[in-house]
Symmetry: C2
Subunit: 290 residues, 2 copies
Amino acid sequence: MLILLLAALQSTPAAALPSPGQVVAQSPASAWQDIPADELLVMSLAGGKRVVIQLAPSFAPVHVKNIRQLAADHWWDHTGIDRVHDNYVVQWGGATVPKPLPAGIQQHPPAEYTFASDKHRLHTLDGRDAYAPRVGYMQGWPVAIDAGQGTLLHCYGMVGAGRENSPDTGTGAELYAVIGHAPRHLDRNMALVGRVVEGMGWLSGLPRGTGSAGMYEHAAERPPIESIRLASELPQGERPHYQVMDVHAPVFADYLKARANRRDEFFIHNPQAVDICNAPVPVRPSPAQP
Amino acid sequence: MLILLLAALQSTPAAALPSPGQVVAQSPASAWQDIPADELLVMSLAGGKRVVIQLAPSFAPVHVKNIRQLAADHWWDHTGIDRVHDNYVVQWGGATVPKPLPAGIQQHPPAEYTFASDKHRLHTLDGRDAYAPRVGYMQGWPVAIDAGQGTLLHCYGMVGAGRENSPDTGTGAELYAVIGHAPRHLDRNMALVGRVVEGMGWLSGLPRGTGSAGMYEHAAERPPIESIRLASELPQGERPHYQVMDVHAPVFADYLKARANRRDEFFIHNPQAVDICNAPVPVRPSPAQP
């Protein structure tokens, strides 16, 4: 009798706690914010493969301004992916694009690697982080805070601006997407400008380059980029529409709790913890309008 | 004059600290241990692509015993990869292999998800970990320690045994390799049996499956596995030879220090921290014998 009672006590909370996916699926419409069309970058790869990147203009405004102009100028069209470095990054628009930048591009943007930590309101993630005393979410993005300075985080799928050794050498023309375990040592060292919200597998599944740092050694190996456009410059019928969860909505706290407490039938041990790159902010295609 | 002096003071320690790659390249031969041929599993994919997995018999002995027998029985030959789940796992030998397990396989291995933490000597990694109060390295493997129990970690490239919901349902016939940000919530929930030491890009670069959890929806999509063998059962000339760094060698501490302190010319901010999955134990092909 006692054993049965204990079993019942132990199993009730497990059944009561929904999975992260269930929390997201059951969230109210009010918890979601539309991503503006001029904050979505649409990359068309050969074979009809589409990658959509959400830009982060409030964290890297000068780099994003450059990126918007480069897309408007069709600068990346008919170029290719330069390198795929396993467990690190996919990179394009770099040294293998042998043409000068268009007029009007800010050639030496400020080093937008950090920001004043009171810039946005923080939803702190409870728990320990290897790299910073405090991590959490601001305006839909993963951030770390240390000594009054914030930084976006190099989590899987985040997109940043490549640069040379000098910090004023990245313009946003050369971009990379993180395809492995979060290279958090790059935090505060690079300008993160966005994240992939659709088609990540088209990038992460590319053949690894065989040259130094995953460079493709022969031009013919480079997967072609047909075009990169802002969604706002595509015809209405071709635009992707996405929403991001409001990190200050009550359901986002439920989502983090579900991420840290895995109690469905598969889990024997509940980790009771989650690292920030394993709790990405939910993004979804906008529901069809009635 | 003062500015020049300060610049000199700042640059001297940077130049004095070698990069992680330099530390490994300059390590003495005594810091390396040969991996026995019966602890290397050689997977041959179509097109001459080779993947080599180092097994962890001292942490998952029953699962590894099964795996060795399955390889000897050629059980995986002429099968295929079942699923590629982006930012999670590549998996093979599972439900899509419609044949019974050979006689002699332990059908219900013990749940080798944890071990007594005094089993091996620990080299602690300084710093915070999101999932465990203490992490480090034992016998060449990344581990977490909590309340007297150790567990191997689901870092990039680690290989584990798939199972159903019940903990006694994974035999080692169905295996997965981690291909994204470390899914550490699986620690203590699955038996880790090894790690990929060669050819990781052949797995991580596979096309993502379009079915639920990355399953390939059509048999023709599955990348063929030609064979999986223990290196000890291959002809001498076909055997791979690898070495792993001794985690108690002094140079391993230097390597961890270099991983946590990035001071080459590219880095503007030195993270002064590293998470354990960003500090994998060095493994290298055995140097040619003189």
